[in-house]
Symmetry: C2
Amino acid sequence: MTEQPIRREAVSDQLFTLLRDRILTGTLAAGAPMTAERELAAEFGVNRHAVREAVKRLQQARLVEVSHGGRTRVLDWRRTAGLDLAVQLARATGSPTHDLRRDVLEMRASIGADAARLCAARCSRETASEIVGAAAGYVGCGPDLAELAAADVAWWRLVVEGSGNLAYLLAFNTLVDGSLTAGEVPTDLRAAELLDIEGHVRLAALIATHDEDGAEAAARALLARSVPTAPIAPEHEGGQA
Amino acid sequence: MTEQPIRREAVSDQLFTLLRDRILTGTLAAGAPMTAERELAAEFGVNRHAVREAVKRLQQARLVEVSHGGRTRVLDWRRTAGLDLAVQLARATGSPTHDLRRDVLEMRASIGADAARLCAARCSRETASEIVGAAAGYVGCGPDLAELAAADVAWWRLVVEGSGNLAYLLAFNTLVDGSLTAGEVPTDLRAAELLDIEGHVRLAALIATHDEDGAEAAARALLARSVPTAPIAPEHEGGQA
DNA sequence: CGCCCAATCTGGTCCAACCAGTTGACCAGA
DNA sequence: TCTGGTCAACTGGTTGGACCAGATTGGGCG
């Protein structure tokens, strides 16, 4: 029963999405034992291996804890899940919508500013000139926001790589692939930042001159243009409790 | 007798680790097609299902790209992998040597400072008092660094949660579970920070009084104590000044 | 030469069985 | 009564083989 419309998406992927959403929405409460693999297979009319592949992914995402012989338990994803889950949160069916978009942009601003500072401090001369060159090329990008967004991402990648910080680079991948290019953040909301060609060029110059403080400040100013300026509404009791 | 470590790691997990390391070390070059599932199964003398579970995890980690009918391709993890991979990088057999430890601490400092600022700006009165209380309890922690480290993590979790930024919270999980508590960063290297009880208390007070700038500065100062101050010279490629 | 199709690669799914830990009910003995 | 051990019934882990489905390739035919 409960035969859903079978899309052309892999069965195990559909299962993963379904189970993930059940966990994220609390349908499967944290700490509770998860439905047994055989039972899930029967419930959805699929093979147990498909279930296992889905569960394996849940395990890797640290949404569940599997133990041989014992039952698979649901974990508290807010305590265990990693940044990569943010992407999935954005795409989850019961879209949290919430401030995840703002959160991602805030994190991007924080990481980007520090990456710019580190890049100014540590990047090689070749990298610096490459960044300056890319910024110059950024000027030539058409008024198309999508095109600008792509160039912006490519340019920032150079900066983050130049920072020499691998953690920043990996986090950058997560944020970009997950929430920026994936259309989670509409480009028109970032128009102010993307159209600030001069800001890009100036930042590139500051990096090239190894002006750490200047680069950080410029990056922060540039990136802040896309961060929703919290139209107040400071949730007194709303947020977390 | 003396079969001390009854290491019974699942076959698929061993396979995942092995293939992951092959990719991270470049043995399996980016862009190259990966060995076929049937071939891998034969090579390691395991069932194909086990191979599939391992590949499924590689796919989720964005280390490979799987296409039905076509060959599974190895991706350039530096461009596609997410922050969660940082953990795995640290544990990877052929440890990339790279100062991943420094990178993680830098990122922690950046995220932590901004989280403190946001927490001061947005956290509820209840959360603020909870943070102050936890800081007061931090004072009572014994001189044991491990105990201090645990309390430190728990305290910072409150701050990050109070910031209301889900991306920060998830990144915090990744950094903590992956590189801090996992022993990747020896606690003695963080002694200066962990023993700065006063710094914790002061930061808590600043958050409670909604002093954004003060909280950010205090957090940055506190966290900076654990960041290696770049003993390595910036790798300039020589040449002109 | 260029198109089309079929053999044959690849991954995706299924069935059925068995291995290996965990749990808890149950019963014999101290 | 309490302790200890056995055993059945779960749970996840692994195996084998078969088949479905999409992609690739190369040869044959127009």
